[in-house]
Symmetry: C2
């Protein structure tokens, strides 16, 4: 079902490329346009059929777009969003895919009003430690949580449009305020990254040859891009550090019990952790996920 | 190629069951016998064809075995190993699959001499957070590191036999002292488990509905059995706590840089971690693994 004539994606990497592929798979737009910094990426995106047409500048690329998706790194979304608004047609809707929301939404919602366009913040929580369009997949968003932000200033029809858009791509849409979003992702995304980077950083290189599946999974996200994640942590510093304090409490409890050879204390702490982890069965495309996510009572 | 007439596996869970399936797949023994505590597990193991015959007591099960594999939980290996030695035939070789080695090897190597049998410590580093024979797989050990211990008192022909055995099941065998083993696994296995349990324990349950692949992988091993892991940590307490201190250094470096908004410091720390994680490409059955593990220069 077509929802848009032209969708423009700025930044066609793993997420932007997967969005392009999914739009085309689902026939949501007559045309998908990509905007690039490098010709090589433009060629790759065309070859992967993630876009129909590519531009090397924002002005030409956003012209006549009904929907503009800002899919660049979190540190450049505001700057690029502001530039895109200048050239976007009146009434166009812009959204983003940034991993933090407070800072982005505050600035872009306000700016949108002065350009007679609308901005709605989004965070499709899908991805991988591999970042380029080469790894884009038309089903990347299917079964993934997708958070859409709502503030006192959010335009209601635009919010609806963006919610429908992500739903059509297979995401499980959840609406929350930018603050709620940033607190949640600090815990369930930023903290695991900090911990995984710390863990990979702690192991002497010579020991890696003995590492097996446990180490591999626990540190997988430590293969992610350092610049990208530094910016994510920094744009969500307050909540990320609060999440770290919660981790430290949990970690210190286990290590102190171990130091005291308090077997009961260790088993209790591990048991609490296991009980929580066992409830998390959001495997992609499992019916459990749909039900659990849909029925979540949290805002 | 047959290496044994009778192999007896005590404790036919995920690892013991996978060993049974792999022995049968590779035709390494005329007969695989299992020893059980519960009739239900015996039936499951027979149904899975992980064993040819099952017994509910050690005496009958180890009789005439050329090889006895102690595949119970780490806390019971010494006790069960001592009992098995009483009934094992002269010259039989015993090995284990325990995740810590110092304590087990010291006691069982010494006891073996007085029973005229041989003991060689092993640690096939394969596994999963799912512990029963239901999840056993004939290829579980293929491509996995398998550490075999050597001390001043280790019987050389028995060591050779055990090394060949694990190689035949597809493991990448590495010989080291029990101390070296315990130090290595503290870093690449016990520490990741402590961190994963701590992380799962830290996240408020209501946030779990937003969790995606990053959280899922980073905490996968927190679904492991708390009693089993409490015993592993406790039997390797000194090295596990040393590993924790190394983790804390790495973690504090990142969190302090974040608190100071020191972007360069964060990127540098994440970059170091990523470089190490990227080198770890021990994906199962990738040629990289074989080469990398085989060419490891460390003892």
């Amino acid at each position: 079902m077509r929802q848009f004539n032209r969708v423009t994606i700025i930044g066609v990497g793993l997420i932007g490329g997967s969005i392009g592929l999914a739009i085309k798979k689902n026939g949501l737009a007559k045309e998908v346009v990509g905007i690039f910094r490098h010709r090589r990426t433009l060629k790759n995106a065309l070859r992967r059929k993630a876009i129909d047409k590519g531009f090397m500048n924002i002005r030409d690329g956003v012209r006549n777009a009904d929907l503009v998706v800002l899919a660049t790194s979190v540190s450049s979304i505001v700057r690029i969003g502001l530039e895109a608004m200048k050239y976007a047609k009146m009434g166009a809707v812009l959204t983003d895919v940034g991993s933090t929301k407070n800072c982005i939404v505050e600035k872009l919602e306000k700016a949108a009003r002065s350009y007679s366009v609308n901005f709605v913040g989004s965070h499709p929580m899908a991805g991988s430690e591999r970042a380029s369009v080469e790894f884009a997949r038309k089903d990347l968003l299917e079964g993934s949580p997708c958070i859409v932000t709502k503030t006192a200033g959010t335009n209601k029809p635009a919010l609806k449009k963006i919610m429908n858009f992500w739903k059509s791509l297979g995401g499980y849409v959840k609406v929350m305020t930018p603050c709620q979003h940033d607190r949640s992702v600090a815990l369930i995304s930023h903290l695991p990254h900090i911990v995984a980077f710390s863990l990979a950083g702690a192991i002497p290189e010579r020991e890696l040859i003995y590492a097996a599946e446990g180490f591999k999974d626990t540190t997988r996200v430590a293969s992610s891009d350092p610049d990208l994640w530094a910016d994510i942590f920094l744009t969500n510093k307050k909540e990320a550090i609060k999440a770290c304090r919660m981790f430290e409490n949990s970690y210190n409890g286990i290590v102190k019990a171990l130091a005291k050879s308090d077997r009961r204390g260790i088993v209790k702490a591990l048991g609490r952790a296991k009980a929580k982890r066992d409830k998390f069965n959001y495997g992609k495309k499992t019916p459990g996920q749909k039900i659990a996510f849909g029925s979540g009572s949290r805002p």
